[in-house]
Protein backbone atom coordinates (compact mmCIF):
# COMPACT_ATOMS: atom_id res chain seq x y z
CA UNK A 1 0.00 0.00 0.00
CA UNK A 2 3.01 2.30 0.26
CA UNK A 3 3.97 4.03 -3.01
CA UNK A 4 7.36 3.05 -4.42
CA UNK A 5 9.36 5.96 -5.84
CA UNK A 6 9.96 5.97 -9.60
CA UNK A 7 11.89 8.58 -11.57
CA UNK A 8 10.48 9.91 -14.85
CA UNK A 9 13.15 9.00 -17.38
CA UNK A 10 11.37 10.34 -20.44
CA UNK A 11 8.26 12.35 -21.26
CA UNK A 12 6.60 11.99 -24.65
CA UNK A 13 3.92 14.47 -25.69
CA UNK A 14 1.60 12.20 -27.64
CA UNK A 15 -1.06 14.74 -28.58
CA UNK A 16 -1.94 17.93 -26.70
CA UNK A 17 -3.18 17.02 -23.24
CA UNK A 18 -1.91 13.45 -23.47
CA UNK A 19 1.57 12.50 -22.36
CA UNK A 20 3.53 9.30 -21.84
CA UNK A 21 6.02 8.71 -19.06
CA UNK A 22 8.82 6.19 -19.11
CA UNK A 23 9.60 5.46 -15.46
CA UNK A 24 12.51 3.77 -13.72
CA UNK A 25 12.34 2.57 -10.14
CA UNK A 26 14.81 4.25 -7.81
CA UNK A 27 15.83 0.91 -6.32
CA UNK A 28 16.49 -0.54 -9.80
CA UNK A 29 14.15 -3.50 -9.26
CA UNK A 30 12.17 -4.73 -12.29
CA UNK A 31 8.45 -4.03 -12.24
CA UNK A 32 6.58 -7.22 -13.08
CA UNK A 33 3.00 -6.97 -14.36
CA UNK A 34 0.62 -8.37 -16.99
CA UNK A 35 -0.96 -6.37 -19.85
CA UNK A 36 -4.25 -4.85 -18.78
CA UNK A 37 -3.26 -4.19 -15.20
CA UNK A 38 -3.07 -0.70 -13.75
CA UNK A 39 -1.10 1.25 -11.17
CA UNK A 40 -2.01 3.98 -8.73
CA UNK A 41 0.27 6.86 -9.68
CA UNK A 42 0.96 9.40 -6.95
CA UNK A 43 2.30 12.89 -7.38
CA UNK A 44 3.59 13.72 -3.95
CA UNK A 45 1.56 16.45 -2.30
CA UNK A 46 -0.99 16.57 -5.12
CA UNK A 47 -2.89 13.31 -5.41
CA UNK A 48 -3.14 9.78 -6.71
CA UNK A 49 -4.84 8.42 -9.83
CA UNK A 50 -5.31 4.99 -11.45
CA UNK A 51 -3.52 4.62 -14.77
CA UNK A 52 -3.34 1.56 -17.00
CA UNK A 53 0.10 0.28 -17.88
CA UNK A 54 0.90 0.85 -21.55
CA UNK A 55 4.36 -0.60 -21.93
CA UNK A 56 5.82 -3.91 -22.95
CA UNK A 57 5.68 -6.31 -20.01
CA UNK A 58 8.83 -8.01 -21.34
CA UNK A 59 10.73 -4.84 -20.55
CA UNK A 60 10.16 -4.76 -16.79
CA UNK A 61 12.92 -2.20 -16.21
CA UNK A 62 10.80 0.51 -17.81
CA UNK A 63 7.30 1.24 -16.63
CA UNK A 64 5.19 3.12 -19.20
CA UNK A 65 2.10 5.16 -18.41
CA UNK A 66 0.10 7.33 -20.79
CA UNK A 67 -1.98 9.98 -19.06
CA UNK A 68 -4.63 12.36 -20.31
CA UNK A 69 -4.77 15.71 -18.51
CA UNK A 70 -8.40 16.01 -17.47
CA UNK A 71 -8.39 17.02 -13.80
CA UNK A 72 -6.30 18.72 -11.12
CA UNK A 73 -3.95 15.76 -10.54
CA UNK A 74 -3.39 14.86 -14.19
CA UNK A 75 -2.97 18.55 -15.09
CA UNK A 76 -0.35 18.93 -12.34
CA UNK A 77 1.37 15.77 -13.54
CA UNK A 78 1.54 17.24 -17.03
CA UNK A 79 3.92 19.88 -15.70
CA UNK A 80 6.45 17.28 -14.48
CA UNK A 81 9.64 16.88 -16.48
CA UNK A 82 12.18 14.08 -16.82
CA UNK A 83 13.97 13.62 -13.52
CA UNK A 84 10.90 14.19 -11.33
CA UNK A 85 9.97 11.44 -8.89
CA UNK A 86 6.46 10.01 -8.48
CA UNK A 87 5.06 7.20 -6.37
CA UNK A 88 3.71 3.95 -7.80
CA UNK A 89 1.42 1.42 -6.14
CA UNK A 90 0.62 -1.70 -8.09
CA UNK A 91 0.18 -3.57 -10.28
CA UNK A 92 -3.52 -4.06 -9.63
CA UNK A 93 -6.45 -5.70 -11.33
CA UNK A 94 -7.23 -8.51 -13.67
CA UNK A 95 -5.13 -8.58 -16.86
CA UNK A 96 -6.27 -9.25 -20.43
CA UNK A 97 -6.90 -13.01 -20.78
CA UNK A 98 -4.23 -13.66 -23.36
CA UNK A 99 -3.91 -17.38 -22.66
CA UNK A 100 -7.65 -17.89 -23.11
CA UNK A 101 -7.60 -16.60 -26.69
CA UNK A 102 -4.69 -18.64 -28.03
CA UNK A 103 -5.46 -19.99 -31.49
CA UNK A 104 -8.05 -17.35 -32.38
CA UNK A 105 -8.08 -14.41 -34.73
CA UNK A 106 -7.83 -11.25 -32.64
CA UNK A 107 -9.42 -7.90 -33.33
CA UNK A 108 -8.61 -4.82 -31.26
CA UNK A 109 -11.18 -2.02 -31.37
CA UNK A 110 -10.30 1.30 -29.85
CA UNK A 111 -10.15 5.04 -30.32
CA UNK A 112 -7.89 7.91 -29.25
CA UNK A 113 -6.44 7.26 -25.77
CA UNK A 114 -8.27 3.93 -25.56
CA UNK A 115 -5.25 2.47 -27.28
CA UNK A 116 -3.22 2.96 -24.08
CA UNK A 117 -4.67 0.00 -22.12
CA UNK A 118 -4.45 -2.22 -25.21
CA UNK A 119 -0.94 -1.30 -26.24
CA UNK A 120 0.77 -3.68 -23.83
CA UNK A 121 -1.50 -6.51 -24.92
CA UNK A 122 -0.71 -5.87 -28.59
CA UNK A 123 3.01 -5.92 -27.75
CA UNK A 124 2.59 -9.25 -25.97
CA UNK A 125 0.50 -10.75 -28.80
CA UNK A 126 3.24 -9.79 -31.23
CA UNK A 127 5.87 -11.40 -28.98
CA UNK A 128 3.77 -14.57 -29.15
CA UNK A 129 2.66 -14.05 -32.73
CA UNK A 130 2.69 -17.76 -33.61
CA UNK A 131 0.05 -18.43 -30.91
CA UNK A 132 -2.69 -16.50 -32.71
CA UNK A 133 -4.51 -16.30 -36.02
CA UNK A 134 -4.99 -12.97 -37.72
CA UNK A 135 -4.27 -9.85 -35.71
CA UNK A 136 -6.22 -6.74 -36.64
CA UNK A 137 -6.18 -3.32 -34.99
CA UNK A 138 -9.13 -1.00 -35.67
CA UNK A 139 -8.31 2.46 -34.41
CA UNK A 140 -10.38 5.61 -34.70
CA UNK A 141 -9.53 9.13 -33.85
CA UNK A 142 -10.74 12.66 -34.32
CA UNK A 143 -8.43 13.81 -37.08
CA UNK A 144 -5.12 13.08 -38.70
CA UNK A 145 -3.34 15.17 -36.05
CA UNK A 146 -4.80 13.24 -33.10
CA UNK A 147 -3.26 9.86 -33.67
CA UNK A 148 -1.89 8.29 -30.51
CA UNK A 149 1.25 6.15 -30.62
CA UNK A 150 1.59 7.04 -34.28
CA UNK A 151 5.02 5.42 -34.53
CA UNK A 152 3.61 2.14 -33.16
CA UNK A 153 0.73 2.22 -35.62
CA UNK A 154 3.13 2.79 -38.51
CA UNK A 155 5.34 -0.04 -37.28
CA UNK A 156 2.39 -2.41 -36.85
CA UNK A 157 0.98 -1.50 -40.23
CA UNK A 158 4.32 -2.24 -41.84
CA UNK A 159 4.35 -5.81 -40.53
CA UNK A 160 3.32 -8.57 -42.90
CA UNK A 161 1.53 -10.52 -40.16
CA UNK A 162 -1.02 -8.00 -38.91
CA UNK A 163 -3.45 -5.40 -40.20
CA UNK A 164 -4.18 -1.89 -39.00
CA UNK A 165 -7.37 -0.11 -40.03
CA UNK A 166 -7.34 3.52 -39.07
CA UNK A 167 -10.23 5.92 -39.40
CA UNK A 168 -10.63 9.60 -38.58
CA UNK A 169 -13.77 11.64 -38.06
CA UNK A 170 -12.82 14.25 -40.61
CA UNK A 171 -9.86 15.10 -42.80
CA UNK A 172 -8.72 17.73 -45.25
CA UNK A 173 -9.88 17.31 -48.82
CA UNK A 174 -7.51 15.09 -50.71
CA UNK A 175 -6.83 12.78 -47.75
CA UNK A 176 -6.74 9.27 -49.17
CA UNK A 177 -7.37 7.30 -45.99
CA UNK A 178 -10.60 6.11 -44.41
CA UNK A 179 -12.90 8.72 -42.83
CA UNK A 180 -15.78 7.79 -40.54
CA UNK A 181 -16.48 6.09 -37.23
CA UNK A 182 -14.58 3.10 -35.87
CA UNK A 183 -17.48 0.95 -37.04
CA UNK A 184 -16.24 1.48 -40.62
CA UNK A 185 -12.83 0.17 -39.58
CA UNK A 186 -14.43 -2.88 -37.93
CA UNK A 187 -16.36 -3.66 -41.10
CA UNK A 188 -13.14 -3.44 -43.11
CA UNK A 189 -11.49 -6.10 -40.95
CA UNK A 190 -11.29 -9.59 -42.35
CA UNK A 191 -11.16 -12.13 -39.57
CA UNK A 192 -12.95 -15.37 -38.90
CA UNK A 193 -15.88 -13.69 -37.18
CA UNK A 194 -17.49 -16.89 -35.79
CA UNK A 195 -14.38 -17.64 -33.75
CA UNK A 196 -12.58 -14.30 -33.42
CA UNK A 197 -11.91 -12.75 -30.02
CA UNK A 198 -12.38 -8.99 -29.70
CA UNK A 199 -10.72 -6.56 -27.31
CA UNK A 200 -12.58 -3.29 -27.03
CA UNK A 201 -11.40 -0.20 -25.22
CA UNK A 202 -13.61 2.84 -25.73
CA UNK A 203 -15.90 4.98 -23.62
CA UNK A 204 -18.85 2.98 -22.37
CA UNK A 205 -21.44 4.39 -24.81
CA UNK A 206 -19.14 3.69 -27.70
CA UNK A 207 -18.26 0.24 -26.37
CA UNK A 208 -21.89 -0.78 -26.81
CA UNK A 209 -21.84 0.47 -30.39
CA UNK A 210 -18.67 -1.52 -31.10
CA UNK A 211 -20.08 -4.64 -29.45
CA UNK A 212 -23.30 -4.35 -31.47
CA UNK A 213 -21.31 -4.01 -34.68
CA UNK A 214 -19.17 -7.01 -33.78
CA UNK A 215 -22.29 -9.00 -32.89
CA UNK A 216 -23.74 -8.18 -36.31
CA UNK A 217 -20.65 -9.71 -37.88
CA UNK A 218 -20.82 -12.83 -35.73
CA UNK A 219 -18.72 -12.11 -32.64
CA UNK A 220 -20.77 -13.31 -29.70
CA UNK A 221 -20.56 -11.28 -26.51
CA UNK A 222 -18.68 -14.02 -24.67
CA UNK A 223 -15.81 -13.37 -27.06
CA UNK A 224 -15.62 -9.65 -26.40
CA UNK A 225 -13.30 -8.32 -23.71
CA UNK A 226 -13.54 -4.79 -22.38
CA UNK A 227 -11.80 -2.68 -19.78
CA UNK A 228 -13.64 -0.30 -17.50
CA UNK A 229 -12.57 3.01 -16.03
CA UNK A 230 -13.85 3.94 -12.61
CA UNK A 231 -12.95 6.12 -9.65
CA UNK A 232 -10.41 3.83 -8.04
CA UNK A 233 -8.85 4.89 -4.77
CA UNK A 234 -7.64 2.03 -2.60
CA UNK A 235 -7.22 -0.29 -5.63
CA UNK A 236 -7.65 -3.40 -3.47
CA UNK A 237 -11.43 -3.63 -3.18
CA UNK A 238 -11.81 -2.10 0.27
CA UNK A 239 -12.99 1.47 -0.16
CA UNK A 240 -15.89 0.78 -2.54
CA UNK A 241 -15.37 3.84 -4.75
CA UNK A 242 -15.14 1.71 -7.89
CA UNK A 243 -18.01 -0.60 -7.06
CA UNK A 244 -20.57 -1.14 -9.84
CA UNK A 245 -23.37 -3.40 -8.71
CA UNK A 246 -21.75 -6.59 -7.45
CA UNK A 247 -18.29 -5.94 -8.85
CA UNK A 248 -15.27 -3.94 -7.72
CA UNK A 249 -13.53 -2.70 -10.84
CA UNK A 250 -10.12 -2.40 -9.16
CA UNK A 251 -10.14 -6.01 -7.97
CA UNK A 252 -12.49 -7.95 -10.28
CA UNK A 253 -11.61 -5.79 -13.30
CA UNK A 254 -10.67 -3.58 -14.97
CA UNK A 255 -10.82 -6.26 -17.67
CA UNK A 256 -14.14 -8.06 -18.05
CA UNK A 257 -15.77 -10.40 -20.48
CA UNK A 258 -18.53 -8.27 -21.95
CA UNK A 259 -21.40 -10.73 -21.47
CA UNK A 260 -20.64 -10.87 -17.75
CA UNK A 261 -21.15 -7.16 -17.22
CA UNK A 262 -23.47 -6.24 -20.07
CA UNK A 263 -26.45 -5.44 -17.80
CA UNK A 264 -24.36 -2.81 -16.02
CA UNK A 265 -23.93 -0.89 -19.26
CA UNK A 266 -27.62 -0.12 -19.44
CA UNK A 267 -27.97 1.12 -15.85
CA UNK A 268 -28.16 4.91 -15.84
CA UNK A 269 -25.94 6.95 -13.54
CA UNK A 270 -23.63 4.01 -12.88
Amino acid sequence: MVPVPFRIAKVIREIPGVYTWHLKSLDGKPFVYRPGQFNMVYQFGVGEIPVSISGDCREPDTLVHTIRAVGPVTNAMQQLRAGAVVGIRGPFGRPWPIDEVVGSDLIFVTSTIGLAPLRGLIHEVLHRREDFGKVVVCYGTRGIDDIMYEADLHRWRARFDMHVHLTVHSAPSGYRGRVGGVVAAIRAAQVDWPSAQAFVCRSETLTRQAVDTLAGLGVTKDRVWVTLERNMQCAIGLCGHCQIGPTFVCKDGPVYRYDQIEPLYSVREF
Binding site: I15, P16, S111, I113, R142, H169, S170, S173, Y175, G181
Partner: protein, 163 residues
Protein backbone atom coordinates in the same frame (compact mmCIF):
# COMPACT_ATOMS: atom_id res chain seq x y z
CA UNK B 1 -12.46 -16.41 -73.94
CA UNK B 2 -13.42 -13.10 -72.37
CA UNK B 3 -16.33 -13.32 -69.99
CA UNK B 4 -18.45 -10.22 -70.34
CA UNK B 5 -20.42 -9.62 -67.18
CA UNK B 6 -23.67 -7.91 -67.93
CA UNK B 7 -25.08 -5.10 -65.85
CA UNK B 8 -27.83 -7.21 -64.32
CA UNK B 9 -25.31 -9.75 -63.07
CA UNK B 10 -23.02 -7.02 -61.74
CA UNK B 11 -25.93 -5.36 -59.97
CA UNK B 12 -27.19 -8.67 -58.58
CA UNK B 13 -23.79 -9.26 -56.93
CA UNK B 14 -23.76 -5.90 -55.17
CA UNK B 15 -24.96 -6.07 -51.53
CA UNK B 16 -27.60 -3.45 -52.36
CA UNK B 17 -29.44 -5.90 -54.61
CA UNK B 18 -29.13 -9.04 -52.53
CA UNK B 19 -32.43 -10.86 -52.30
CA UNK B 20 -34.12 -8.40 -54.63
CA UNK B 21 -37.19 -9.51 -56.53
CA UNK B 22 -35.98 -10.49 -60.05
CA UNK B 23 -38.52 -8.27 -61.75
CA UNK B 24 -37.46 -5.26 -59.70
CA UNK B 25 -33.83 -6.11 -60.45
CA UNK B 26 -34.53 -6.11 -64.17
CA UNK B 27 -36.33 -2.76 -63.93
CA UNK B 28 -33.48 -1.21 -61.96
CA UNK B 29 -30.93 -2.61 -64.38
CA UNK B 30 -32.71 -0.68 -67.11
CA UNK B 31 -31.72 2.50 -65.26
CA UNK B 32 -28.10 1.46 -64.57
CA UNK B 33 -24.82 2.17 -66.28
CA UNK B 34 -21.14 1.72 -65.45
CA UNK B 35 -19.08 4.72 -64.46
CA UNK B 36 -15.39 5.26 -63.76
CA UNK B 37 -13.87 8.22 -61.90
CA UNK B 38 -10.21 9.05 -61.55
CA UNK B 39 -8.56 10.11 -58.27
CA UNK B 40 -9.65 13.61 -57.28
CA UNK B 41 -12.49 13.76 -59.79
CA UNK B 42 -15.88 14.98 -58.54
CA UNK B 43 -18.78 12.54 -58.86
CA UNK B 44 -21.27 15.23 -57.88
CA UNK B 45 -21.19 18.60 -56.21
CA UNK B 46 -23.24 20.29 -53.53
CA UNK B 47 -26.27 22.04 -55.03
CA UNK B 48 -26.27 20.20 -58.35
CA UNK B 49 -29.42 18.30 -59.39
CA UNK B 50 -29.51 14.88 -57.68
CA UNK B 51 -30.73 12.56 -60.38
CA UNK B 52 -28.55 9.52 -59.66
CA UNK B 53 -27.36 7.25 -56.93
CA UNK B 54 -24.30 5.06 -56.91
CA UNK B 55 -23.19 1.60 -55.92
CA UNK B 56 -19.45 1.28 -55.35
CA UNK B 57 -17.83 -1.67 -57.07
CA UNK B 58 -14.23 -0.68 -56.49
CA UNK B 59 -12.31 2.15 -54.86
CA UNK B 60 -12.80 4.76 -52.18
CA UNK B 61 -15.27 7.65 -52.42
CA UNK B 62 -14.94 10.71 -50.18
CA UNK B 63 -18.02 12.66 -49.12
CA UNK B 64 -16.97 16.25 -48.59
CA UNK B 65 -18.59 19.30 -47.10
CA UNK B 66 -17.79 22.64 -48.63
CA UNK B 67 -16.62 25.12 -45.99
CA UNK B 68 -17.01 28.78 -46.95
CA UNK B 69 -13.64 30.51 -47.14
CA UNK B 70 -11.82 27.27 -46.50
CA UNK B 71 -10.91 23.99 -48.13
CA UNK B 72 -13.56 21.24 -48.13
CA UNK B 73 -13.57 18.69 -45.32
CA UNK B 74 -13.92 14.96 -45.84
CA UNK B 75 -16.60 13.73 -43.44
CA UNK B 76 -16.91 10.14 -44.58
CA UNK B 77 -15.39 7.70 -47.00
CA UNK B 78 -17.24 4.80 -48.56
CA UNK B 79 -15.86 1.72 -50.22
CA UNK B 80 -16.72 -1.29 -52.35
CA UNK B 81 -20.12 -2.67 -51.42
CA UNK B 82 -21.38 0.70 -50.17
CA UNK B 83 -24.05 2.87 -51.72
CA UNK B 84 -24.21 6.64 -51.71
CA UNK B 85 -26.54 9.40 -52.76
CA UNK B 86 -30.13 9.55 -51.49
CA UNK B 87 -30.96 13.15 -52.40
CA UNK B 88 -32.57 11.78 -55.56
CA UNK B 89 -35.31 10.38 -53.29
CA UNK B 90 -36.18 13.63 -51.57
CA UNK B 91 -37.34 16.96 -52.97
CA UNK B 92 -35.80 19.31 -54.02
CA UNK B 93 -33.54 16.58 -55.53
CA UNK B 94 -30.28 18.48 -55.04
CA UNK B 95 -27.03 17.20 -53.58
CA UNK B 96 -26.21 18.48 -50.10
CA UNK B 97 -22.51 17.58 -50.23
CA UNK B 98 -19.75 16.81 -52.69
CA UNK B 99 -18.66 13.28 -53.60
CA UNK B 100 -15.19 12.78 -54.95
CA UNK B 101 -13.12 9.81 -56.02
CA UNK B 102 -10.28 9.24 -53.55
CA UNK B 103 -8.70 6.75 -55.91
CA UNK B 104 -9.71 5.00 -59.10
CA UNK B 105 -13.40 4.34 -58.55
CA UNK B 106 -15.70 2.01 -60.44
CA UNK B 107 -19.39 2.55 -59.85
CA UNK B 108 -22.78 1.42 -60.94
CA UNK B 109 -24.64 4.63 -61.63
CA UNK B 110 -28.41 4.40 -61.24
CA UNK B 111 -30.61 6.94 -62.93
CA UNK B 112 -32.76 8.15 -60.05
CA UNK B 113 -34.91 10.43 -62.19
CA UNK B 114 -35.83 7.43 -64.32
CA UNK B 115 -36.48 5.30 -61.22
CA UNK B 116 -38.62 7.98 -59.57
CA UNK B 117 -41.02 7.79 -62.48
CA UNK B 118 -41.10 4.00 -62.37
CA UNK B 119 -41.64 3.99 -58.61
CA UNK B 120 -44.63 6.31 -58.97
CA UNK B 121 -46.26 3.77 -61.27
CA UNK B 122 -45.09 0.66 -59.44
CA UNK B 123 -45.40 0.93 -55.66
CA UNK B 124 -43.87 -2.50 -55.08
CA UNK B 125 -40.73 -1.30 -56.84
CA UNK B 126 -40.76 1.78 -54.60
CA UNK B 127 -41.06 -0.50 -51.57
CA UNK B 128 -38.07 -2.59 -52.76
CA UNK B 129 -35.98 0.56 -53.12
CA UNK B 130 -37.01 2.13 -49.81
CA UNK B 131 -36.51 -1.19 -48.01
CA UNK B 132 -32.86 -0.98 -49.06
CA UNK B 133 -32.28 2.71 -48.50
CA UNK B 134 -33.93 3.18 -45.10
CA UNK B 135 -31.64 0.79 -43.14
CA UNK B 136 -28.58 2.44 -44.67
CA UNK B 137 -29.90 5.89 -43.77
CA UNK B 138 -30.70 4.68 -40.24
CA UNK B 139 -27.26 3.13 -39.83
CA UNK B 140 -25.50 6.28 -40.99
CA UNK B 141 -27.68 8.46 -38.77
CA UNK B 142 -26.92 6.25 -35.75
CA UNK B 143 -23.24 6.24 -36.66
CA UNK B 144 -23.18 10.02 -36.87
CA UNK B 145 -24.89 10.31 -33.47
CA UNK B 146 -22.17 8.13 -32.01
CA UNK B 147 -19.54 10.29 -33.66
CA UNK B 148 -21.07 13.31 -31.91
CA UNK B 149 -20.78 11.43 -28.62
CA UNK B 150 -17.19 10.58 -29.41
CA UNK B 151 -16.31 14.12 -30.42
CA UNK B 152 -17.97 15.46 -27.28
CA UNK B 153 -16.16 13.08 -24.95
CA UNK B 154 -12.68 12.79 -26.38
CA UNK B 155 -9.88 15.34 -26.35
CA UNK B 156 -9.86 17.99 -29.05
CA UNK B 157 -6.68 18.79 -30.84
CA UNK B 158 -5.93 21.48 -33.32
CA UNK B 159 -3.28 20.63 -35.88
CA UNK B 160 -1.27 23.74 -35.06
CA UNK B 161 -1.06 22.67 -31.42
CA UNK B 162 0.54 19.31 -32.09
CA UNK B 163 4.07 18.66 -30.91
Amino acid sequence: MVHIVDLEETLAHHPFAQGMDPEALRTITGCASNAVYHPGEYIFRDGDPADNFYLIRHGLVALEIHVPQGPPIVVETLEAGDIFGWSWLLPPYRWSNDARASDQVRLLKLDGACLRGKMENDRSLGYEIYKRFVPIMARRLAGNRMRIVELATEPAVHSRQKG
